[in-house]
Every structure is written in C-alpha cells, then in structure tokens.
C-alpha cells in the first residue's frame, strides 16, 4: 500500500572525511608499519572495503608497550595534573571541531545511523574528555585518599559497537589519572581510533602517551598478556572477559571488565504507554541492538501485554531501516557478517524453541548486512533467547503478574548490567530499583549515557565502573 508521505533521500556527505588506502600502527607519536600482516575494514552497509589495516604482531605490541612505558617514566608521570588537564581539554575541543568528520567515519566503518553517531556517539566522546580533563588536577579531592597515584601503562581493548565512544571511556580517565595507554580498537571498526591518533598529533600530546594498535584477537591477547602492562581494561564479551581474568591471574595487573548483558525492561500496568513504547524501542533497537546494556528482555505485566505489544509493533512499523548515511535512517547495518550470522542463529533457536517471531515489514538492501527489527512473544525464562545475549535488534517478550515475580525474573540471569522500570508510581520505582541486581537502572527512560554517570555491571557483566568520580578508581592506586 503506498503511503501518503514518502521520505526523500537525505544522505550525509562523506566528502568531509578522507580515508587513506591503508593504515599502520600509531606508536610513540607516529604511524609505523606493522609486521603482523593486514586486515580489511569494510563498510557493513555496502560491503565496500574502506581501508587496509595493519595487524600488530607480538613484536609490534611490545614496541607499543615500551613506548607507553617510556612516555610514562620520562614524561607523563612528571606532567602536572593541571597540564594533563589542558591536554585533555584540547582533545575535547578537537573532537568537537572535527565532530562531523568523526561521525561520518564512524557510520561508514560501523554501520550505525548517522543521526546516532552525529547526535549521540561523538558528542558524548567530547563530553567524556571534557569531564575527565577537569579531574586531572583534582584527584586528591576524589575520595580515594590524599595520595592517589597512577598505575603506569594501561592496556585497553575495546569493542565495535561504539568505537570512538569506548575509546573515550578508556583513554580519558586513564590520561587524567596520569597513566599512559596502548589501545586496541576492534578489528571491524578501527578507523575512528586511527583518526583519533591524528587528534593526538594536533593536540601535541607527548609521543607514546597514547598508542593505537590494530589487529584481531591475537593482538588483543598479546597486549593484555604483556608483562609490562600494569592495568588491563576490557569491554566486550563475557567469554573473552573471563579469559582475560584468567590470563592476569597471579600477576599484579589491575583489571576492569565491562562485559555482556541481558537487561530486563520491566513495564507495569500503570506505565504511560506511548512513552514506554518509545523507551522500549530506544532500549533494544538503538544502535541495531549492538548495546551491552540493551533492554533485550521485555517483562510486561500480563494485563497490558497484548495492548503494549500491539502498540510496539505499530511503532516498529514506522522505523526506517537502510542507508546509515541517510539522516532519516533509524536502523543501520549489522556490524559484520559474523555478527549477522550469530543473530540469525539465535533467532532461529527462538523459532525452534517455540517462541513466536514477528518481524517488522521492511525491505532489506541487497548489499550489506541487515536484520529487521524482530520481536519474539511467548518467550519463557528457559528459552535461550531469554538467557543469551543476542547483541542485535531482537526483543524477547515475557510476562509477569506481581512485582515480586518481575524482580525474580529480572534477576534470573548471570548478567547484571542494566535494567529498565516503567511505572507511574514513585515508591514502586524505588523498590524495583533497589531490588535490581544491575549496575545501571533506568526508570521511565532507557539507554541514557553521560560522562558524569558511573556505568558498569554486577555479576558476570563485569567489575569496575566507567564514568563519573567512580571511573577514576580503575586507574589509581588508592588508599
């Protein structure tokens, strides 16, 4: 049926960014060749090769760690907090100045809609650097005793879902507290991290304070296992997080982990329906559901389940899936073929286990990796789609009758990263919020982020916090 109003294409220009045909490793303030071969970074919306990326070998990793150690010993540990702050303020400003370029590059490399990279990711990156800049010369007031001291060299490994934002979450607090870093971006999304290296150049950050090395799992493993790193910070899957925890066992390396989630988004019968539907959409379809804190388990009070799910499906019918560079696009591309296959597999398991699949009626582009917004109803706690992190635009709907049943079901997970609560009743919000075994609780909202707001999980969602005053502790010796 033709709709009365068609959207005209509204593509963002990619002319704002120049992508080199190949990139080396950013070590000690300059780009150098890697010796571990190369990999290709592609645009998941078109399958076009964007650039060829060096893979850091064990020797390259060693070179990067040595550069970071040298910079720590000779320069950064002797740089005053006030001076470190000014470097970070500079970086924040440079990110703001180059924000469109970064947003376009992020969308090309990651597949997320330009409106998200432009309005969420990159502004938060700048805000994060600005926030931690201010802490650099105030650490003795941060509540960690009178003599908080940096750890040394931090090894940081980040995922592909928010590439530059995760870089900011890692680098900003590490530098503010006086550490130097070697950071490895995900192998499918290295480009904004490599552009960030150019921002470090413009900021005249001393060589070796920030080192960016690219590669896949082997490079990451070599980095976290390097004997001369003092700190490992990892964001990614729970499986890899556990492997890292085992690999640092018996060492003096400090570790923080931000891992997977399977958040419950709990809707009571008195919730404001339209607001809730928007929140559910933001909870699971933001960033194609590639969000560790996504509200992937919808727990609806039984009395309103049919109505709510009906309204949700109507709303999902209006979402626009397609070219991530189009400013009207709501749902972009799945980041990689591998991830697409994982989503397809788990959705298939949902079918096999007897849940009822509904898929938004939208046309998928011929090229690229796509998965239409999908809702499973009739899901039980035993279903794998209610227990395992899908990391895609797939929502599992379960029901409950009483608040205590909702609490029981919400907490029935080895994960504990986030939770959502929708109700008009204040005392119930506070009761539910205090009962959730989860690090972030969104009440009558979902998927909000801010540099001042600590983020991180309970249980198998990891340990340590990023953001806020709490985020400093991950990079300090404290009393």
């Amino acid at each position: 049926m033709p709709t009365p109003f068609e959207y005209a294409p509204a593509p963002e220009s990619r002319a704002v960014v120049t992508i080199a045909s190949s990139y080396g490793l950013f070590i000690d303030g300059e780009f150098t060749d890697g010796t571990g071969g190369s990999l290709k970074s592609i645009n998941p919306a078109t399958e076009e090769v964007l650039s060829e990326i060096a893979i850091a070998s064990d020797a390259d990793v060693d070179r990067a760690v040595k550069a970071a150690r040298r910079a720590y010993t000779r320069v950064w540990s002797k740089t005053s907090g006030a001076e470190r702050a000014k470097y970070l303020f500079r970086i924040a400003r440079l990110v703001q100045e180059r924000s469109r370029e970064l947003a376009v590059l992020e969308t090309l490399d990651n597949g997320k809609p330009i409106k998200e990279s432009r309005d969420v990711d990159i502004p938060l990156v700048a805000a994060h650097f600005f926030y931690y800049a201010g802490w650099a010369d105030k650490l003795e007031h941060a509540g960690f005793g009178s003599n908080p001291r940096p750890l040394g060299v931090a090894a940081q490994v980040i995922p592909w879902n928010f590439p530059l934002l995760m870089l900011a979450w890692k680098i900003a607090p590490a530098l503010a507290t006086g550490n130097t870093v070697v950071l490895k971006p995900a192998e499918t999304t290295p480009l904004t991290a490599l552009l960030f290296a150019d921002i470090c150049r413009q900021a005249e950050l001393p060589p070796g304070v920030v080192n960016i090395i690219t590669g896949a799992g082997d490079t990451g493993r070599a980095l976290v296992e390097h004997p001369d790193v003092n700190k490992v910070a990892f964001t990614g899957s729970t499986e890899v997080g556990k492997a890292i925890a085992r690999s640092v066992a018996g060492t003096d390396k400090r570790l923080t982990l931000e891992l997977g989630g399977k958040a419950a988004n709990i809707v009571f019968d008195d919730a404001p329906v339209d607001q809730t539907v928007e929140g559910i959409v933001a909870g699971i379809f933001f960033n194609q559901g590639h969000v560790c804190c996504a509200g992937s388990r919808l727990l609806v009070q039984e009395s309103i389940a049919d109505e709510l799910v009906g309204r949700l499906k109507n709303r999902l019918g209006t979402l626009r899936l397609g070219d991530p560079m189009d400013k009207n696009t709501d749902i972009g591309a799945i980041n990689s073929l591998e991830q697409l296959e994982r989503i397809r597999h788990l959705a298939g398991v949902g079918d096999d286990e007897g849940a009822e699949r509904w898929t938004a009626d939208c046309e998928l582009p011929a090229k690229g990796y796509w998965f239409a917004p999908t809702v499973f109803t009739g899901v039980t706690q035993a279903h794998r789609i209610a227990r395992e992190e899908i990391f895609g635009p797939v929502l599992s709907v379960l029901t409950f009758r009483t608040p205590s049943e909702a609490i029981e079901k919400a907490n029935n997970s080895p994960y504990g990263l986030s939770a959502g609560i929708w109700t008009d009743k204040g005392s119930r919000i506070l009761k539910m919020a205090s009962s959730m075994r989860a690090g972030v609780v969104w009440a009558n909202t979902f998927n909000r982020f801010d540099p001042a707001s600590p983020f991180g999980g309970y249980k198998e969602s990891g340990y340590g916090r990023e953001g806020g005053r709490h985020g400093l502790a991950a990079y300090l010796h404290v009393d």
Binding site: A452, S461, A473
Partner: protein, 287 residues
C-alpha cells in the same frame, strides 16, 4: 590442694548460626608455636564449604536489607561482647602467635577497636561513596554503593585475630555475608570469635567460619558459582593464588589479592570498597 583440671572446649565450625562439627568427621591437631597440644579443630570439607555458602546466601538479603544503623549497632555489639572476653582472646592470641601477654593484649585491643571503627562506617558508606551525578540533561541521576553479595574470605595466616577482624568487618559492614576460612595453624581465636558473633545479635549465616586446610578448602570457594567475591588475604602460596584467581574467573568473581601483612595500620576504605557494587539510577525530571 590439687590444682583444678581445666574444662576444655570443643572447637567447632560456625555455619548458619550453629556450631556443627565437620560433616566429614575429621579434625586436625592445633598446637602452639612450641608444638604443644592446644585443641583438635574441625577439618572442614568441600561439603562444609558449600553448606557455609548456602547459609551465607540465605542470610544475605536480610542482612543487606537491615538498616545501616542496625548493622552498625550489631558490629558495635561484637566489640562489646569481645571486650567482655578479653582475657580469653589474649590467652589464645598469646599461645597461637607466641606473643608475650603485653603484646597479645595490644593485639586484642586493636581487634576490638577495629570493630568499633567499622561499626561507625555502616551508615556513612553510602554518603561517602555514593551521590548524585550532574548529567547533561533533565534527569535525576544518583549512584549508591550496594553489597556485592556472598564473599569468601581467606583469613590472614599469621595474625589470627586482628588480621581476621580486619578482613571480616569491612566485608559485612556494607551488607555482604561471608564465608571465612580461619588461619590454618592458628584457628582457635577465630572460633572463639564466632562464639562472640553468635551472641552479638548478628543474624545466623552472616558470618560462617570454617577451619581447615587452605589448599583443600579454598579451591571450592573460588570456583563456587554462588560466591560473588573472594578475598585472598591469607593465601601465601603464589601458585595457589594463581589457581584460585583462574577458578574465580568462571563467574567473574571480584578478587582481592593479598597486599599487606601490617594489620595495625589505618585500614582506610579500600577493603570496604572492594566488596561493593555501584548502582546508578536515572529518572527523567519534569516529564
């Protein structure tokens, strides 16, 4: 007149508020530093460790749900009751650790005072470690510390009372419950402490005390999927420490590594902080 023959005490485990023997029926001989017999302590088994975890899990919601004021009073009560049994603890510490009685007295006094110090923290942790966060948008946003859950504690080996109290009090003050393995060779003061705990209004199961071999019991605690965190303070063997950390990764346990032997120093907040989670809550303003 013939000197009176003393009435000896049977030293048992402390699990869920009761004093069972080891289900294994085993004991081991505890001696003073010169090798003279002091007592037979229960030799805890895997089953005892698991029973202790079950008791700790059962007690955890109630203890975390008690008001901070209440938890503070209970910890203070522990100090009060300990004070009344000062002489006994001095005797036990002196014999176990080989201190002259003057030194043992100061150790026991420090242990009692440590409970008092931590008692005062109970209702200050949230204000000190939590707060509101000024996010850039119309949201009320606050962070609060919450207990991690069930914490396994390997008590220090040398300092059998002060070390024990120094690792135990910061775990429970915030609402965690604990399964603690006492100093292997010097467990008697720990068992006497459990008798204090049992008469200090501390709900059963909040602290569960095992005595036995570090190498036998700790691997089960480190690998237990219903233990949220582990304090390795009393693990002196480097290889065992590594093995325990590896096992702890299976459910992403929070691990506190051994870091000090000086239990007389100002404790600071580090140990309390090690066994806390931070929960951050958002709510829109004006919608």
């Amino acid at each position: 007149m013939a000197s009176r023959l003393e009435v000896r005490k049977t030293y048992k485990l402390y699990i869920g508020g009761a004093f069972p023997r080891s289900e294994s029926g085993r004991t081991y001989e505890v001696t003073d530093l010169k090798g003279r017999f002091l007592a037979n302590a229960a030799l805890a088994s895997r089953k005892d460790a698991r029973d202790a975890v079950v008791a700790a899990r059962k007690a955890q919601p109630g203890w975390a749900g008690a008001t901070a004021y209440n938890r503070g009073q209970v910890l203070y009560r522990v100090a009060e009751v300990m004070e009344g049994r000062r002489a006994q603890f001095v005797d036990e510490v002196s014999r176990a650790e080989g201190h002259p009685s003057r030194r043992a007295e100061s150790v026991v006094e420090a242990a009692i005072d440590r409970w008092v110090w931590y008692a005062g923290w109970a209702d200050k942790i949230a204000q000190t470690l939590g707060g509101t966060n000024p996010v850039a948008g119309p949201y009320f946003n606050f962070s609060i510390p919450e207990p991690t859950g069930v914490v396994a504690v390997v008590a220090p080996q040398e300092s059998s009372l002060l070390g024990l109290v120094s690792v135990l009090a910061p775990v429970i003050v915030s609402g965690n419950t604990a399964v603690v393995l006492a100093s292997e060779l010097r467990p008697l003061a720990a068992i006497s402490l459990s008798e204090v705990l049992a008469t200090s209004d501390l709900p059963g199961g909040v602290i569960n005390l095992l005595t036995g071999h570090v190498a036998e019991v700790t691997p089960w605690l480190a690998a237990h999927m219903d233990v949220n965190a582990i304090d390795l303070a009393g693990v002196d063997d480097r290889a065992l420490r590594t093995q325990l950390e590896i096992a702890a990764a299976d459910n992403v346990k929070r691990v506190r590594r051994p870091d000090t032997d000086d239990w007389t120093a100002d404790p600071g907040l580090a140990r309390i902080r090690s066994f806390l989670e931070t929960k951050t809550v958002w709510h829109p303003i004006g919608v």
